[in-house]
């Protein structure tokens, strides 16, 4: 086997073993598309436009943590 072929086989083996090691991650990442939940909740700009701050009523009694 030539030196060049040997390097190619070695690289293929490295890539294959990396894929086997990460097969779990890759399989689910590839198997499902991005949901709409993810589209909004991972996008800073989009989430900023959607967020509505909670209403704070004047005179409301705010209790503190128990203890």
């Amino acid at each position: 086997m030539s030196k060049r072929k040997g390097i190619a086989v070695f690289l293929i083996l490295i890539i294959l073993s990396w894929m086997i090691y990460h097969s779990n991650d890759l399989s689910w990442a590839a198997s499902r598309g991005t949901s709409n939940c993810e589209k909004c909740h991972t996008n800073d700009a989009v989430l900023k436009t959607l967020y509505k701050p909670p209403k704070v009523e004047a005179g409301a009694v705010v209790e503190e943590g128990e203890g």
Binding site: A29, N36, C40, T42, V56, A60, E64, G65, E66, G67
Partner: protein, 346 residues
């Protein structure tokens, strides 16, 4: 504030919790085009249902079902002694299940998102990462009225020496105190293997003879916190009455209501005679329990004014609870906690 709900995209491919998609835990509609539609029937606190986490974390959820953070049984125990049998029944239905029980902590409130307290919602702890511990964003919220601000020094006074040495809640309080050990305790006082000062600070191993003698003289008679609580801590009353709480800093010393042979730090607790009036509970046995209970303030220091001079307690009688200091219209049992230190024989 919206950032509190921003999920770290990098986690999604890496963390097995995201494998089944958001809706597997949160329900809702992932195909919806608007926020309102998507959030319809969404479950905000999926781990309210322990069965969800139990799919993988069976061992932990099995014990957590009985853990005090989940059952909130301690809240019931704290007040039940003030009720007649009839009142206890009313309390169970009208107050405990509808109010106290709603405060239980879910798995997610310690591992994913801060609990919402008094309308303050800090949101996700770390971009929806499932974290092992983040006391400043979890414990600190529910225990943010008294313990945590005393510990960090935010309540005035000085910070606890353990906090200054970079120790946090879980460095003393073991995991089993949160996840439970399988026993259904009625209060935290019953929990086995609670943290105690002497687990680390062994008697007899003091660096100075003065400390060795002081510990030997007061052993079994005075609690550690009675001398080592560094500053006034929060004392509350009249909470949950719908008009806000009355709270003020104070340091009280008196007899331990659970063990009247020892002097300890006492804390005024929020329950007053009218606390359950809205539920038609008059607290018929109100006077059988005091309003002050033994407490370990989380503002411990090696040197305090009481460790510097014997006279602070034995001559000045400083900080000892007296009849004049007791709350007005309080329980008659309060007077049983008064203690007058004796002068030292010279």
């Amino acid at each position: 504030m919206y950032k509190a709900f921003l999920v770290d995209q990098n986690l999604i491919a890496k963390d097995v919790h995201f494998e089944q998609g958001c809706i597997s835990c949160h329900k809702g509609n992932e195909k919806a085009q608007t926020k309102e539609e998507a959030h319809k029937s969404m479950v905000k606190r999926p781990s309210d249902d322990l069965a969800l986490c139990a799919q993988c974390h069976e061992e932990i959820t099995k014990t957590y079902k009985n853990a005090l953070h989940y059952t909130t049984a301690g809240l019931r125990h704290g007040v039940s002694g003030r009720f007649s049998k009839e009142e206890m029944k009313a309390f169970e239905g009208k107050v405990f299940e509808k109010s106290c029980r709603t405060c239980h902590s879910t798995c997610g409130e310690c591992h994913v998102k801060s609990p919402v307290i008094g309308g303050v919602n800090l949101g996700l702890i770390k971009g929806h990462q499932f974290v092992k511990r983040a006391e400043d964003k979890t414990c600190a919220l529910c225990h943010g009225g008294r313990v945590y601000p005393e510990f960090t020094g935010e309540y005035g006074g000085v910070a606890d020496v353990h906090y200054q040495k970079n120790m946090f809640c879980l460095d003393c309080h073991k995991k089993s105190e949160f996840h439970g050990d399988g026993n259904a305790y009625v209060s935290r006082r019953e929990v086995k293997d609670k943290p105690s000062c002497t687990q680390c600070h062994k008697m007899g191993q003091e660096k100075t003879e003065k400390a060795k003698k002081a510990h030997a003289d007061h052993s079994e008679k005075v609690s550690c916190s009675a001398c080592h609580a560094a500053a006034p801590y929060r004392n509350c009353s009249e909470c949950h009455l719908g008009k806000g709480a009355t709270a003020k800093p104070a340091l009280y010393l008196g007899l331990n209501p659970r063990d009247k042979k020892t002097v300890t730090t006492l804390r005024l607790v929020p329950t007053v005679k009218e606390t359950f009036k809205k539920a038609d509970i008059q607290s018929e046995a109100y006077d059988s329990l005091p309003n002050y209970w033994d407490t370990v303030p989380h503002n411990i220091r090696k040197r305090t004014e009481r460790t510097r001079s014997c006279d602070v307690c034995h001559v000045e009688k400083k900080d000892f609870l007296t009849k004049e200091k007791l709350i007005k219209n309080g329980s008659k049992a309060n007077e049983g906690l008064l203690y007058e230190p004796k002068p030292i024989k010279k």
